[in-house]
Symmetry: C2
Subunit: 282 residues, 2 copies
């Protein structure tokens, strides 16, 4: 099985590691616009060969793991260049615009829209790790538009990598994911910004910040190159989540100003309930 991975960073590189471990016969071909990344990936043993778009017709599977705006740009070209029996799937954090873009493409049935809910705040080939996808959810959109045989090939990969599958339409995906992922990133980035602006003396942050702060701003280490296109693609949903989040913060501030600490207690108590929800997310 010849697997071409376009974008050999955290997501693509982690797919490479697990696919090589799960499929003896898999050969990994890396494509990346940074030759430095390709060399690193080769050095780390993530890929077997450096490759380019010219060789896409050899692929049995193409995994697209690049920022979502570039995926929208080049997915039609990728589909143009593969052979009829090749499966293409992506790992992008927005699905609506992507599915729209290739809805009329003659090779639409070769594409599977996927979003593995997995990652870390790090990026690049050196961030790739084994078992990143084990036990994680993979959201598949518009599965009925993918050729059945190619669905099966995709599921075999996801299953051997230990992922749970969930089916969803692209617009529901984009709406829900704005709440449980995109908003978290903004809250984290803005928290980091607020503290950095205030605490000019970084020694103070370092000395006084505990594990709670570190946990809350962890996502502020994330890659702007990956996240800017996500916010762009999911603009309306993200703005809606931001408005609700800001309204809740304003309400909390209002309660503080009114010395209504009974209500503040209640708000926190109600939200404690998140414990039960988080059980099982690692």
């Amino acid at each position: 099985m010849k697997v071409f991975i376009i974008g050999i960073g955290l997501i693509g590189g982690s797919f490479a590691i697990d696919i090589k471990a799960a499929f003896n016969e898999a050969k990994i071909y890396g494509i990346d616009r940074s030759d430095e990344n390709l060399e690193k990936a080769l050095g780390l043993g993530l890929i077997d060969h450096k490759s380019s778009f010219d060789e896409l017709d050899k692929a049995d599977v193409v995994i697209v793991a690049i920022p979502v705006d570039t995926t929208v740009e080049i997915l039609p070209m990728i589909l143009d260049n593969i052979h009829d029996d090749c499966l293409v799937f992506d790992a992008g954090s927005t699905k609506g615009k992507l599915c729209d873009t290739i809805s009329q493409h003659p090779k639409r049935r070769n594409y599977l829209a996927a979003h593995p809910i997995a990652g870390t705040e790090f990026s690049g080939p050196q961030a790739a790790i084994a078992n990143l996808y084990r036990g994680k959810t993979n959201i598949i959109c518009e599965v009925e538009k993918t050729a059945f045989k190619l669905q099966e090939r995709g599921m075999e990969i996801f299953s051997r990598l230990g992922m749970r599958i969930r089916y969803m339409d692209p617009s529901s995906h984009d709406k829900h994911i704005a709440y449980v992922s995109h908003l978290s990133h903004i809250s984290s980035f803005m928290l980091g910004k607020t503290v950095i602006e205030k605490e000019k003396n970084e020694r103070d942050i370092f000395d006084m910040a505990g594990s709670g702060f570190a946990s809350t701003v962890r996502l502020a280490k994330s890659s702007p190159a990956m996240w800017t296109p996500i916010f762009k693609h999911n603009k309306n949903n993200v703005i809606e989540t931001l408005e609700e989040y800001i309204a809740n913060l304003e309400q909390f501030k209002k309660l503080m100003k009114e010395d209504n600490f009974d209500e503040i207690y209640k708000e926190m108590e109600d939200t404690n309930h998140i414990k039960a929800i988080l059980k099982g997310i690692t």
Copy 2:
């Protein structure tokens, strides 16, 4: 050394574990308004004896690890009851109101105002863990107001427990800690609230949320009984941080609405810098 711990939960219980390990001769006496907690603490081996305020005159060290409003309430009574050579320190997350309260107390020199920057999102005696304080910062306020001999006793404990000491005045402490701790808790609680309100179907949150979301809302599991008094004590500072945080979120939303994604990229890139600051916080 007879160590009385008032409030035998996560903070007090973890002190108990480490002090017993570091001082062979230490005996731990637990005081808690919940007899159930005391029984648990005894069962877990955190304390050697259940005790009460009537016995405080036997104490060499008293550690106050209860919500900050109750500390303000009972600290004068504690000082009234100890003998002249007893050290009292607390572990509260606000220091101004506390230092004010006892500034004129005849036993002011028996008290050391401390804030170990350590904890988890869990609470109660069963949440107590060994080495919670190792490598953590302990902020000491108004050290000059504590008798030198008792400062030394405190430092011996903090040092054997592996803490780094930092000195600060109470009002600077309360201002800085609002940014690096109190604001994180509010951002986390309100994020949890926003998502719970929206996602009535909790299965969706569970399936779609990844480790990023879990990390960002982790603090929303924290105890309202502990946090409500902190927000009350640090009201003005916390409102100021909230205003700045909301302003940054509003600005982000405005950039999104204006499709100014270049600036959004830049904001995130500038904040990525938090990586360097977080290095070393575990």
